[in-house]
């Protein structure tokens, strides 16, 4: 079966808006973690990694954005940057799909609904304009309206590996002819609700998490989008559930299964991106990769620079690898390995082949 190719991508991230800002931040290893403005963010932590100066109305205009939540704004902004690169018809398309990863939608919008219900004069005194954004597929549905994306519209959750599972899901849409091109990625917003949930859920022995946010979107097709040349092909994605607590073995299984499925050897690998998760799973993941690959192929994790971005984290890893490939001629035709682990028990590995330039 043919391999899907990534024609273009964009990201709205703590490095700033757009692909160039992400590429610069990640290749220059600039930390985007900083003190949070206490007037803007009523959160239990002092630091975070937010998209600098991101304002929905400044980014998207005043029309249709009055009650829009942040995750929807980030999604529409990012998808817009991707569509600018290709010939997306003004009146939309029936064969362009959107596959958007999430952790639980907008906790901010959904918890606001509950909060209003519990504290208002009447339990049904909730803001109706918030309701569509408080549904988990709100961002994907609104983004479809914005750009006329009438193909399959799927909101998926698979923890940190979501970006990679999204590639598999998108590949199936392409192979079965359900879409011609797929906008595939994930989005996560910084919010007081998400910060509080993270804070409350922390075990006493765990350090406070530095939360990040943003959106990364890849344009995937069996052919490159018209007018573009492929940046990379998606050779294989493998996932595995950890049943015995051995995260290193699970990551190893995923990597080896992915490599053998396309008959590649570890020495063909140009770069390896790991999740950089600070927990035991992340440490085991890293340890196993150092056994499998030469030390110089291991890319320092994006999470060190942009914080914990949950469902977008592996999409940001893919974006990092593509950013590095652009600057490194040695990447041409070679393999990038991306791995991730999630507390739910899932480990994943993806293989991309960087296009010949």
């Amino acid at each position: 079966m043919p391999y899907p190719v990534i024609s273009t991508w964009s990201a709205t991230s703590p490095f700033g808006v757009g692909r160039a800002a992400f590429a610069a931040g990640t290749t220059q290893r600039r930390s985007a973690i900083g003190p949070l403005d206490p007037l803007e963010w009523q959160v239990p932590t002092t630091h975070g990694a937010v998209v600098p100066g991101y304002d929905i109305r400044a980014s998207l205009g005043r029309k249709g954005t009055r009650m829009m939540n942040r995750v929807t704004g980030l999604t529409i902004t990012t998808v817009g940057h991707v569509l600018e690169e290709v010939a997306h018809p003004e009146d939309g398309a029936d064969d362009v799909a959107l596959v958007l990863g999430t952790t639980a939608g907008s906790l901010q919008s959904s918890m606001e609904i509950t909060h209003s219900s519990l504290t208002g004069a009447r339990p049904y005194h909730v803001e109706p304009a918030t309701i569509p954004y408080a549904v988990m597929n709100g961002a994907a549905g609104r983004c479809a309206i914005w750009y006329g994306l009438r193909g399959p519209n799927s909101t998926i959750g698979a923890g940190r590996p979501t970006g990679m599972v999204g590639l598999t899901y998108s590949r199936r849409l392409l192979l079965t002819g359900r879409a011609r091109q797929v906008l595939c990625g994930a989005a996560e917003e910084f919010s007081s609700a998400r910060s509080l949930v993270e804070h409350y859920g922390r075990l006493p022995e765990e350090p406070e998490t530095v939360l990040g946010e943003g959106c990364a979107i890849f344009l995937l097709g069996l052919e490159p989008a018209p007018g573009s040349r492929p940046l990379a092909s998606v050779l294989s994605v493998r996932t595995r559930m950890v049943a015995d607590g051995d995260w290193g073995a699970a990551v190893g299984h995923c990597v080896e299964a992915a490599l053998s499925s396309v008959d590649e050897k570890a020495d063909q690998v140009w770069a390896v991106s790991h999740s950089g998760t600070a927990d035991a799973a992340g440490r085991a993941e890293h340890a196993r990769l150092t056994e499998l690959f030469d030390a110089e192929t291991l890319v320092p994790p994006a999470a060190d620079l942009i914080g914990e971005t949950h469902s977008v984290s592996s999409a940001f890893q893919i974006a990092s690898v593509l950013s590095l490939a652009e600057q490194d001629p040695a990447s041409a035709g070679r393999i990038a390995v991306i791995t991730s682990v999630d507390p739910s028990g899932m480990a994943a590995a993806a293989l991309l082949r960087i296009a010949e330039s």
Partner: protein, 418 residues
Amino acid sequence: MNSTLARADSRPASQRVVITGLGVFSSIGTGVAEFTEGLRTGRSNVAPITAFDTSGFEYANGAEVAGFEPEKWIHHSPVKELGRATQFSVAAARMAVEDAGLADEDLRGLRGQISIGTTDGESRDADTLVAQRVAGDPQRVDRALARRLGVNGLSAAVAREFSLTDVEALTLGTACSAGNYSVGNGFDAIRVGDADFALCGGADAICLKNFVSFYRLGTVAPDVCRPFDKDRRGLINSEGAGVVMLESLESALARGARIYSEVLGYGLSCDAHHPAVPDQSSVARCMTSALENAGVAPHEVDLISAHGTGTKANDTTEARAIRDIYDNLPPRTISLKSMLGHAMGAASALATIACSLAITHGFIPPTINHVETDPECEIDCVPNESVPADLRIVQNNGLAFGGNNSVVVLGRHDKEAR
């Protein structure tokens, strides 16, 4: 167009996907036997909601799953550490595997796909967290709840329960059509060779956030759900889970499995029009793509299980879209939500199960609470009493907020005919 059955037959058995196990927790019954009986007799269990404090609402009826005993079904996971929606999904997966005549070990050597659809995930836990915070004592906020809000837990927990390692577990958050999305994803995963089997379905637990949202939008019925009736007043919130075991026909035949139905195909479309109001042309486009994917001509369809929420907007738009596609001669078109209530992410999964049982047992479940069909919804909704019927092909509609439509087409598997 070729007949469906010929088309499905023309696929190799390895690429034909059949349903061989059903797991169901619904407001009208738990398990295949009770659920089938409920569908046949037109059962409904609408009552005042007990899941949260409903004082201050003018009305708050729902259809809850009464007497849910997750411990009976969840054997290898700490039940109390799972939210109610996850308990539903794991219990329904367990029931589907048992119903398929499989042991846990049978699955472990295989490559699996686990897809669970949901509207709200563990929003009931999120409601509790907000309530604890409103109560003002941070010490009372429950850490365990905060750690399980990620919706991927609904599918990952299924993998953990069965100690499945070679699986992809994902949760589809496509609201009220998520169950159909999941069945479709499992169907594709098996057909493209990504999986040997798939556990697919949907799960949701009644929660305040969801109820108040629909209530505020004026779409909750004060008493009961009356789809396609001229006096319909909205939906009734419900909950539960439906999970099906999917495998290739080749695998089902090899192990002599009972086959409830064959998934002939499915379709997806997005309205890209309005977040909460369905779009007729997009719903029609979704049905067309599902029928084309299944290789089925409209006149071959014996029954449509409509999304049929019982709201003014949905039923009119959906009925019109159906009449468009069916050249004004639609087959009988029922709404299971008249009995089950709207189980959100579980709804179309429960409907997939109901359609499979209707095919297996040769009857059409009724649309209950029906007095007079709305002239705007010109369909035969099989009012109030089930009827015997020889069903070969059934179409199951799922529509959702966000304009996320998904339609699944199921067919009868006749051993002799193939």
